[in-house]
Symmetry: C2
Subunit: 144 residues, 2 copies
DNA sequence: CTTAAATAGGATAAAAATGTCCGAAATAAC
DNA sequence: GTTATTTCGGACATTTTTATCCTATTTAAG
């Protein structure tokens, strides 16, 4: 469904959010360990999220990544997916046609429209706070 | 959502079904042209579908690909997707966890469960006949 | 039997995604 | 100021996906 990069990006964001909730800044090393991802590759993805202003980074000793507390509940999964994978998951035709709309539908246009819309709705209405709280309470997991 | 291979496989199957409906066998060359796909790559995918007994092939002059008429309505999209991309689209965790179930859910387990189930239901309940008839009537398109 | 047309399948190539390495820059602590 | 720590960013490497090429095999037609 998502690229590996996007999976790592989502998990990293949730981990950062869960810690920022307690005012704790976390390092790349810690993030990669806690979400079980390759460190250097994760660094690239975090850079991307920083450039998209979804997370903040602080260089140097005692630096790391964080999200402003007030912002945590306003960041939607869709923003993370969009920053990393783009919008092809919403926009694109299920069978890869360049043009695919009601006037010129691919064979599965209608069937996919529903599913894509639900996926879009879900991603646009799920925010980092919900997900971070479940991690903090132990109701959900980022690895194994 | 699907791999290119799977997109080509679905489109090719629909094109073959639409022609088999009229008792016409079609060649690789014709298929690739009509679904706008690279010929040699499409050949590999068709071989795969033949090995999975979803379509039949006939070698030699006047050969090509076809689907038994009675079988067209019984072939579900899910069978084609399964033959090419495997079942990761149904089974896999949305965030790539090796283990992700109700007891040990990833942060988006519940949200994805619904969407994956709807996708699965749709693929398991959409058959080649429906899709082929729309192509024949001009209600849907395989290219451009 | 010969020829032309077609799929089968192995080997190879190109492109994209994933992953690694290393030096530069920034920052806190001493 | 020096040092240790940490992100940034460019270059490179590996793996997977996508795509191509070429030969063998099969089959209908003449």
């Amino acid at each position: 469904m998502f690229s590996k990069a996007c999976e790592y990006g989502i998990k990293a964001s949730i981990y950062i959010a869960a810690n920022s909730y307690d005012g704790v800044r976390v390092s790349l090393k810690e993030i990669a360990k806690e979400i079980n991802s390759p460190e250097a590759f994760t660094a690239k993805i975090l850079q991307d999220l920083v450039r998209n202003k979804l997370i903040n980074s602080v260089k140097g000793a005692y630096g790391g990544f964080e999200i402003e507390k007030e912002k945590i509940s306003s960041i939607k999964l869709s923003q993370i997916v969009n920053a990393i994978d783009g919008d092809s998951i919403y926009q694109g035709c299920g069978l890869g046609l360049d043009v695919c709309d009601a006037n010129h539908p691919c064979p599965v246009h209608d069937q996919f429209k529903n599913i894509r819309n639900e996926l879009r709705y879900m991603l646009e209405h799920t925010n980092l706070e919900q997900l971070a709280l479940d991690i903090k309470s132990g109701a959900s997991f980022l690895k194994i």
